[in-house]
């Protein structure tokens, strides 16, 4: 199956046969460079935090992955809107690829946050509203992927997903605002609020390079996921030609009584 796919695709001029390209290789190299810098500064060069000690270093992973995930969800929302307007496969694939990457990054954030929590708070999870809303957000996009996974006509599926992508994104700012207010109302500052100011120069540099690295990795992954999805669609198109052939054959009298 894979071989037929690549063979017939290579007969089409300029059709991509893999998910890599010159551009993505360059992008990958740059992302790698920033990753190395971020690791060097984050793990080795920057000083430990006054209160949190070396565990502060988790932040250089925690925050970039959140930001990358938010970016991905935003891309999903924009693509969803564009899909409903333009109705092209491009926007559908972009939206769903971004949602997958976003869920991935967000899950990573929650996992490393939980681990961080274990070392700083002594528990994996607290009923901190931000953590709770994070979990809720994740489930919202898991719902998106669940709908995506339901077999359906591609256009129908695309429309369903686009609607969820648009509706869900509205929730992100509302959730975060509501939570801030909730906190602000009757409780003192929380752990999340207390640590981020007062970062030293190398700490800041580590943070920014980690942020850039996180976003580059996210984009790199997104491009590859998109292309993989695109190729999968083309492969199923090839399956379609064959299915059409078989379907028409049903009508030949030789086939006899078919049901």
């Amino acid at each position: 199956m894979t071989t037929t796919k690549t063979e017939s695709l290579s007969t089409v001029p300029a059709a991509p046969t893999g998910t890599g390209s010159r551009g993505t290789r360059v992008l990958g190299a740059v992302a790698l460079l920033f990753l190395v810098i971020a690791v060097a500064y984050g793990l080795l060069i920057s000083p430990p935090d006054a209160q949190l000690g070396n565990t502060i270093r988790i932040i250089y992973m925690h925050v970039p992955t959140v930001m990358a995930a938010y970016l991905a969800f935003l891309i999903t929302a924009v693509s969803s809107g564009m899909y409903l307007w333009k109705r092209t496969e491009f926007w559908d694939l972009l939206g769903s690829s971004a949602a997958e990457i976003g869920v991935l990054f967000f899950a990573v954030t929650i996992v490393d946050g939980a681990l961080w929590g274990k070392v700083t708070w002594g528990v994996f999870w607290r009923w901190e509203p931000r953590l709770t809303t994070s979990a809720v957000l994740l489930i919202m996009y898991i719902g998106y992927l669940a709908v995506r996974a339901i077999p359906a006509d591609p256009k129908t599926r695309a429309t369903r997903c686009a609607i969820i992508g648009l509706v869900a994104v509205v929730n992100i700012p509302i959730v975060h605002k509501a939570v801030d207010w909730w906190r602000g109302l009757h409780q003192g500052k929380t752990v999340l609020g207390t640590i981020d100011p007062e970062m030293g120069g190398t700490q800041l540099f580590a943070m920014y390079s980690a942020l850039v690295a996180g976003i580059l990795v996210c984009v790199w992954l997104l491009i590859h996921r998109f292309r993989a999805g695109f190729l999968a669609e083309r492969a199923s198109d090839l399956g379609l030609d064959q299915a059409l052939e078989e379907r028409r054959l049903e009508s030949s009298p030789a086939q006899g009584a078919d049901s």
Binding site: S251, P253, A257, S259
Partner: protein
């Protein structure tokens, strides 16, 4: 464009299965067209495409002058579809259903009552919830809900199924009346003797394509039906 329905190489997928695999079909105004063919041939799918309910994945489709590949919506309110499903709220009574569907179609409540009358639905049944009706009674109510929309294109999926002899004659009469008054009728049927009498023309669909008129019927249709082509 004089054809009411014009399909060219129309391909329609259900899931990933090409239920229609390249259909070419033209239907003239005022025509009564019979779709016949073995089970699973694609008749129901073809009617769904003409109603604008099932999208094409490739090919051309123009119905009632509207291009289905670009905007399917405009067609929908101008066709009447009688499908395998009843299209009725099971918990509402017969008249409540008719009132709702006639008003939804911008007809009056009186149109709905007239349609019930036309279909010979006994007034004893008016206040019964639809789920209490027998199969044939329900089919009549569905038919009434369809005709009170005054559709320009009638799409009927096995319109005779479940009806008693009186009902069958009634349906034949309705189709002929509709065609005479300028509407166009496409219907799928397996009851060839009756169907071919009322149809102006018949096409055979099999394996998702329409067989050329010259080609003999496929093996699963023993009697070579007469095709009174106009």
């Amino acid at each position: 464009m004089s054809a009411i329905v014009h399909l060219h190489s129309a391909v329609a997928l259900i899931g990933r299965f090409p239920a229609l695999a390249g259909v070419d079909l033209d239907v003239d105004p005022g025509e009564i067209l019979l779709l016949r063919g073995p089970n699973g041939a694609g008749k129901t799918t073809l009617l769904g495409v003409c109603a604008g309910l099932i999208g094409l994945s490739s090919g051309e489709a123009v119905v009632l002058g509207e291009d289905l590949t670009s905007h399917r919506r405009a067609v929908r309110r101008r066709v009447g579809l009688l499908g395998h499903d009843s299209f009725l709220y099971q918990d509402l009574s017969v008249v409540e259903n008719l009132d709702f569907w006639s008003r939804a179609a911008a007809a009056t409540v009186a149109d709905g009552r007239a349609a019930l009358d036309r279909l010979g639905v006994a007034s004893r049944l008016f206040e019964l919830p639809v789920h209490a009706l027998s199969a044939g009674q329900r089919r009549r109510v569905s038919f009434a809900a369809m005709i009170c929309r005054r559709p320009e294109l009638w799409l009927l999926d096995e319109p005779h199924a479940g009806l008693d002899s009186a009902g069958r004659d009634l349906v034949d009469g309705l189709m002929q009346e509709a065609a005479a008054s300028g509407a166009t009728v496409m219907f799928a049927s397996h009851e060839l003797d009756r169907a071919e009498n009322v149809a102006h023309r018949a096409v055979t669909i099999s394996g998702g394509v329409i067989l050329p008129a010259s080609q003999p019927e496929p093996a699963s249709q023993p009697e070579p039906a007469s095709q009174p082509e106009p």
